[in-house]
Symmetry: C2
Subunit: 304 residues, 2 copies
């Protein structure tokens, strides 16, 4: 799994750098979604060069007051709206970590869809880092599983830790095959999803503005990948109810579930909710006009 | 300091319960504002029975899947808007912890102002817990410092740890004297601040509604203590600029500094900011009409 692959990688790097401190974003997946596993299981400690909802800048990495052995970057940063830096910012941040003798590990669960925003190929993006984790079951649509790439000595050591962590699954061919199919089938289509997400996000913003919703946010606009956030000033229950009624009454599903407040963190501010929108195969069939109409229909189902 | 007093208390309890796990809120002060000190310095681990912006319920404490030696409750929970439970909820949550053989420690940095909401005296509120930390320099307006109260055996042990942590300050009488003055001078006035905060918060909400701000939140409304949050859908820079101009041009200071997004956490949602309002001595002089007028003047300074 990704949870295991990244702990193994970070633990191996901690041994090699002599520093068990990992610099990462407070919105990064291990901080928000893994129950404190880095500290509880792997003896690692985390520090945060920034809490602004974007990748740490080169300056923030350079100026961070504590030493760290590894800088871990989540590309895109999901809980900040699947946000990416520019290519120049990414290069500069990586260089700043190297100046501090830190290694750079990429949380690349969603790395597959980063190419269009950077204007670079996957090899060049991954090549910036010392190690990269990728997921098989997000954009690639595989069954499960993850892979870790890095120098061969690191990968050899990672095999040992994988066994210790309990990750030596017997017969993994369904996961491997479904990931390989994803490489064939989904990977080439991702750029079209990324391009169409800009159309969908723009049409959603137009739809909310036209419907007179008092405040909303499509974040980022335009999206950096094929996924983005939508924020609305209503409780999650009200929005889920509207989504469900829209699906039942019209057969149109515009949004999946809503969460109150910041994803993964406590529900702040009160009365504001967020959802994540993914534009994949089926989304290509929606024109901007379809999206605007669906938004209008959705807003009509909200209480005045 | 409070940071030290609470680590000492939690560490002593960990030794006595045999469990170094502390259950607390992800918005609690040690999680947001102390650089991971519980783990990095004191060998403690934290778990979160809830991330909803309120105290964990009795049910959440009862059902939490991991064992913990101590339940730490911040009263009021500052980063959720200085929020308090009801007295019955507080009693039930404490009882649920005791059923699990956990001790209960109160982060009472702002305990002084909780009496009116609970309708109970300080002794009765503090008496619910096994140990309580209080701050000298928040509502009491002292210079610095903190106190820890608990069973005498715990307090004896805490002295030893205070020395080890480096907290044996030589000559603390200015801090002690200023805190004693606060007990005399500020403590009796706190109920009037708490009462007037309801007037101020209500008038602010009326002012924002009248001024046609697209979305806002006064949280909680009415406030539980003499402090509360105000959320507005603008960037922090724009709001700070308006606060400064209002002060310069009219001599009225309605708000102090604004932060983008959730306090302490990453700035989410984008384009929403929060500030904290404290109603103390000088605030008693403001009528509801004064507040409404000041809000109208503030909103006029915001970009259209």
């Amino acid at each position: 799994t990704g949870t295991m692959a990244q702990q193994v990688a970070l633990r191996c790097w901690a041994g090699r750098t002599g520093d068990a401190t990992v610099a990462l974003h407070p919105l990064a997946h291990p901080e928000l979604h893994e129950q404190g596993a880095l500290a509880a299981v792997s003896g690692l400690r985390t520090v945060h060069p920034t809490s602004a909802p974007r990748m740490p800048s080169a300056q923030e990495v350079r100026d961070h007051p504590e030493p760290f052995g590894t800088l871990m970057l989540e590309l895109p940063l999901r809980d900040a709206g699947f946000a990416l830096p520019t290519w120049d910012e990414l290069e500069a941040t990586v260089a700043a970590a190297r100046e501090r003798d830190a290694v750079v590990h990429l949380d690349g669960a969603r790395l597959w869809e980063c190419g269009p925003h950077f204007g670079r190929g996957l090899e060049e993006i991954a090549g910036l880092a010392d190690s990269v984790y990728v997921s098989f079951y997000k954009s690639l649509d595989g069954l499960s599983g993850a892979a870790l790439a890095g120098p061969s000595a690191l990968v050899e050591e990672a095999r040992v830790w994988r066994h210790r962590y309990g990750g030596q699954l017997f017969q993994q061919y369904p996961a491997a095959l479904s990931a390989l199919i994803g490489l064939d089938r989904e990977l080439p289509r991702l750029p079209s999803y990324v391009a169409h997400a800009k159309v969908v996000a723009g049409a959603m913003a137009e739809g909310f503005a036209a419907a007179g919703v008092p405040w909303f946010r499509v974040n980022p606009e335009p999206p950096h990948t094929h996924q983005f956030q939508v924020w609305l000033p209503y409780g999650a229950g009200v929005l889920d109810e509207a989504s469900l009624r829209q699906a039942e009454e019209t057969g149109v599903t515009l949004f999946r579930s809503w969460s109150e407040g910041a994803p993964g963190a406590a529900g702040l501010p009160p009365g504001v909710s967020v959802t994540e929108v993914t534009v994949a195969g089926a989304g290509l069939e929606w024109s901007a006009e379809d999206v605007r109409e669906a938004v209008a229909g959705f807003v009509e189902l909200l209480p005045a």
